[in-house]
């Protein structure tokens, strides 16, 4: 187990280092001089040079990369060009919206998908299965931002149960904050749940055909006990793998959905920073999102090995 973990951990570090190089290289060729844009077209060249020196963007690229990476490791993400505040403060402030949103959406996805998948598999080729699979096919085809707009139309415009957008913050109590994130979380979850429900159904059906399931039924276990005691654990392996991959899609989805609901999360921060040419904020936010994807997939690999001991055996 320790060798397996070590190998996976090294892969994680290499991937993170590679991602940081790619992000830095791509964003370093950003057209336009950040100092010139910040100071406006009428600024004197001396003033622009002075600002570039102050922000450190006049130094050679390798030096800036090294400063950035060592800063990242110490939790110092630098200073935002546009806001003149530490990037770490900006990111933490926005993560207070994006992180609970992603968590709510992933929890909702898991609950909806696993229950729908098991239900469909247990009624294979019956009306419930066919109906649910039809629904999931429709769910996969629906763009999450359109579904979000439809939810706003129904629940905010017609029924007036929720606000059409915005975020009140966590200062006035968590209930209002959670309420503001419910519609965005549903719009993110439905599409991902549709995909995961199909995977769950397929995985459960595969395991149901295994000999050990037949043996369990033959020794007198009820269908429910077999399902919960034997089938689910084995069916979870592909489900968890897909969940790890879906997390990346979910994070990408939050960028779009935050814009639909005008949520002050990481996604909106990235957009504001692109229009401000605030490279340092864009670079750190993209790195953070990429790192989250890689780290979640690392934990998925570890979980994979916990569920199925054959995985680590074959890996070593």
């Amino acid at each position: 187990m320790s060798l397996f973990l070590f190998k996976r951990f090294i892969t994680l570090l290499v991937t993170l280092a590679g991602a940081s190089v790619v992000i830095f290289l791509v964003l370093e060729i950003l057209p336009g001089d950040a100092a010139q844009i910040l100071m406006g077209p009428d600024a004197s060249p001396e003033a622009v040079t002075a600002l570039a020196q102050k922000l450190g963007i006049d130094r050679p690229a390798p030096e800036r990369y090294w400063t950035w990476v060592t800063g990242l490791l110490q939790g110092d993400l630098g200073l935002s060009y546009a806001y003149s505040t530490p990037v770490v403060e900006l990111v933490l402030e926005r993560l207070a919206v994006t992180f609970p949103l992603a968590l709510m959406a992933m929890s909702l996805t898991t609950v909806l998908a696993i229950s729908a998948g098991i239900y469909a598999a247990s009624r294979h080729n019956k009306l419930g299965d066919i109906g649910l699979m039809g629904l999931t096919q429709a769910g996969i085809a629906v763009p999450n931002f359109w579904f979000a707009i439809l939810l706003i139309l129904l629940f905010a415009v017609h029924l007036k149960w929720f606000a059409a957008g915005g975020f009140p913050g966590w200062e006035d109590g968590w209930a209002e904050g959670v309420q503001a994130l419910i519609l965005p979380a549903i719009s993110l979850a439905v599409v991902q749940a549709a995909i995961l429900a199909r995977i769950t159904r397929s995985a459960v059906l595969d395991v149901l055909r295994e000999d050990f399931v037949r043996t369990a039924r033959a020794k007198g276990l009820s269908q429910r006990a077999t399902l919960w005691g034997h089938v689910l654990r084995n069916a979870l392996i592909p489900v968890i793998t897909v969940m790890g991959l879906q997390f990346a899609e979910l994070l990408a989805g939050t960028i779009v959905v935050e814009n639909v609901f005008y949520l002050p999360g990481l996604g909106r921060l990235i957009f504001q920073s692109i229009s401000n040419r605030d490279v340092i904020v864009v670079r750190n936010c993209v790195m953070l999102l990429a790192a989250l994807v890689v780290i979640v997939n690392f934990f998925v690999d570890v979980l994979y090995a916990v569920i199925d001991p054959r995985v680590k055996a074959s890996d070593i």
């Binding site: 892969t11 290499v14 991937t15 590679g18 991602a19 790619v22 992000i23 791509v26 964003l27 060729i29 950003l30 057209p31 096919q137 429709a138 996969i140 085809a141 629906v142 763009p143 999450n144 931002f145 359109w146 707009i149 439809l150 706003i152 139309l153 415009v157 059409a164 397929s202 595969d206 991959l245 990346a248 899609e249 994070l251 990408a252 960028i255 779009v256 814009n259 639909v260 990235i270 957009f271 692109i274 490279v279 864009v282 993209v286 999102l289 990429a290 790192a291 994807v293 890689v294 997939n297």
Partner: protein, 291 residues
């Protein structure tokens, strides 16, 4: 009874591909929806009820009616015409982005399977690594560097497709390389390149066709999302994603404006997904049994 006679009999009894395709409900439905998408884009080159670029402020925000079947938008443009022309952007992005992923990804996957060793390891680790960047994140980086536009959106979605095709190609090609007829070709002295082109590629073509259909649907969704965010198709070129973004600001006055472009995207994606599923059932029955 000759060997050729024995093999000819079951062949005659077996239904043709076309007959099996016509009997597959989801393939037929998916094919029809995809045909509708292509027809809409094709028709828009020849005819649209009104010009999608012409603003007509006195006729703004009209509800659906005999004059304007799906109503008009905030600038008085005919929604039906905008939808017809918007189909072009979706198809353009889908075709080119899938083309980029298919050509580069397949080449890399074939190379990995043919060379094995460190080449395979390098290609696969690079494709693992690229999973850290979803299409939207890539597009955001591209936009930050080169500015917003359909070309950058296409490139971002195309790059995002490369590792998927590389992985699928490599996995399928490895299975073909282990087959006896490939070993026989090797024993006859054929080179790796010839075997790849003459034996491996034709045998994995069906898998690639199915995957291309599914990735086409994903590309349409990604283009719509990027255009919604203002990173994809730029004005005045109509796009379903941007129509939704414009409709969102008018949700209280004209809610239907936010419905039609979304339906167009959903039907286009549904059609391609159903077609992909159907083709998979027909071309790879082993996978179909597992579903």
């Amino acid at each position: 009874m000759s060997a050729s006679h024995v093999s000819a009999e079951p062949k005659a009894l077996r239904p043709t591909f076309m007959a099996r395709a016509m009997g597959h409900r989801s393939l037929v439905l998916g094919g029809l929806l995809t045909l509708l998408l292509l027809a809409a884009a094709g028709l828009s080159f020849l005819w649209t009820p009104y010009s999608p670029y012409e603003m007509n402020i006195p006729s703004r925000l009209l509800p659906p009616g005999p004059q304007h079947w799906l109503g008009t938008d905030a600038f008085g443009r005919d929604v039906a015409s905008l939808l017809l022309v918007g189909a072009r952007a979706s198809i353009l992005v889908g075709v080119i982005a899938v083309g980029i992923g298919l050509s580069i990804g397949t080449a890399l996957g074939l190379l990995a399977a043919a060379r094995r060793g460190w080449t395979e390891e390098l290609i696969m680790r690079l494709s693992d690594f690229s999973f850290a960047f979803p299409a939207i994140l890539l597009a955001i980086m591209m936009t930050a560097v080169f500015g917003a536009g359909i070309v950058n959106a296409i490139i971002a979605i195309g790059i995002y497709n490369i590792p998927t095709f590389a992985r699928i190609t490599r996995a399928s090609a490895n299975a073909i390389w282990a087959r006896e007829f490939v070993m026989a070709a090797q024993a006859c002295g054929k080179g790796r390149f010839s075997i790849t082109v003459e034996h491996v590629l034709p045998n994995i073509a069906s898998v690639l066709i199915v995957q291309a259909t599914i990735r086409f649907a994903i590309a349409i969704l990604a283009e719509a999302a990027l255009s919604y965010l203002g990173l994809g198709t730029q004005p005045p070129q109509p796009s379903w994603g941007r129509m939704l973004s414009e409709a969102q600001t008018l949700m209280f006055q004209a809610p239907l404006l936010a419905v039609f472009p979304g339906l167009a995207i959903a039907f286009a994606v549904l059609g391609l997904n159903l077609m992909g599923d159907g083709l998979r059932d027909l071309l790879d029955p082993r996978l179909a049994r597992k579903r």
